[in-house]
Amino acid sequence: MFNKFIQILENKFVPLASKLGSQRHLLSIRDGFISIMPLAIIGSLAILINNFPIVYYQEYMSSLFGTEWTLFSDYIYNGTFAIMSLLIVFSISYNLADSYNEDPLLAALISFSSFIITIIQTDAQGFSIPFQWLDASGLLVAIVVAILATEIYVKTMNLISSKKKQEKGTMTPILNRYFSALIPTIFIFLIFSLMRLVFAQFGIENIIEEIYRLIQLPLMGLANNLLTALVIVFIGHFFWFLGLHGTNILEPVIQALYLPALQENIQAVSNNLAVPNIFTKPFFDSFVYMGGSGTTLSLLIVIYLFSNSKRKRDLMKLSSTQSIFNINEPILYGLPIVMNPIYFIPFILTPLILTLTSYLAILTGFVPKTIAMVPWGTPPIISGFLITGSISGSLLQVFNIFIGILIYFPFVKIAERIKE
């Protein structure tokens, strides 16, 4: 009966997940975010270094480097996280153009200019760029401009090159390429400049602010809600159960919603304000996906402590090092968990429960909200400390791993009984 159930799931959801996972624009958004990850991580850690909530540490640093010591990290933050939208417009456009085999650098440069054209302001000193809107608040505009400008660029370049093929050019290829880009570029800049003017006609001077208020803010409010978090965790693991990389398929959405949430938190910390958001990207990576999707670190510990099956123990040894760095494909396919009716419940239930426990731990104030980001491969316990700046973050991870053990334990036993 369960096989039939899986068959239905496979027929219904695998095509959908495949479509999502291979969609060109979603892929370029995801790769765009991945490209700027090193900058984002360093920018967030810079602020964490400034704001460790330990008085002694703060005094020590001031005595060592003078009271201005935090400026050092502030500068780094301002050049990375604080201009995330500028970075994103470039990197998404680059990845999208690359997927079309068009010159990615040229496309990225054009998109970058288009973004500036769209957001430029006039003030008493002349023209200016609104720095405070270049952080995550400008993300939605950045993504739209990047995709729009790149699409127009690619389409018009195709049009031109199909015409060009009939008449053979005599210019050297690289010159030829940049000359033929002139017309698309003018065309794109005209569109964005015109759009800017039209918005101004309707009294909208700051497009980012308007879009942020009307669309991005409500979206983020929706995202920072327990139910949404649970749904996202559920879908990711449901796809994984079908054998597809669920968290990777959802990555564009997760990045676009939960990275800005983290940025708001970082901003608040550095301004000594109350930290607003519970759900952020590191929240899921570090408190829930320990050992990888499905919190399989707990499962490995259950196998280590209680399983006599040689096959399971071999698999555990094989994959334990990877698991510490939150990589678990060998377990998912080797145990297997994928399409395995016995592990369906704990694999999906554990991360859902841990999302809930982590949410409650933060809501009640036992654990501070996340204020920094680490690479997703950072081992648990270390990562919990780093993303919250508090040892209670690590304690929550230990607690969560323990809850995971309790959930997985009976199912490992059931699996072994069935084998016998």
């Binding site: 695998v14 997940a17 495949s18 479509k19 996972g21 291979s22 892929l27 790769d31 991945i34 990845n95 690359d98 997927s99 994984w240 054998g243 597809l244 990389h245 990777n248 398929i249 698999l315 094989l318 990877q322 760095f325 990589i327 678990n328 494909e329 060998p330 377990i331 998912l332 396919y333 080797g334 145990l335 297997p336 994928v338 491969g377």
Partner: protein, 105 residues
Amino acid sequence: MENVVLVCTAGMSTSILVSKMNKIAAENEIEINIEALAQSELKNYSKKIDLILLGPQVKYLLNNLERDYKNSEIKFDVIDSVQYGTLNGKAVLNHALTLLDKKVI
């Protein structure tokens, strides 16, 4: 020498499998070069590729490979999920050799 790349999301989970495959290939004196790549690295990979093997978790990228490599010499396929999960280097190597029309071991 044939060049085979194994692709997954970050190139990390396949790397162990790749080192196993290379070891078995060396033991059997098979001339083949196998590497692990992240999906985003594939596009700008500079060496000549003869075969792309996708990790089962990214089998949905098959559509994109068909789009990009349909008219090229490059072959592509998805790795069997059980062979992948058990890190069965020999089986995956044989899979690759078969696709490359070479003698299996």
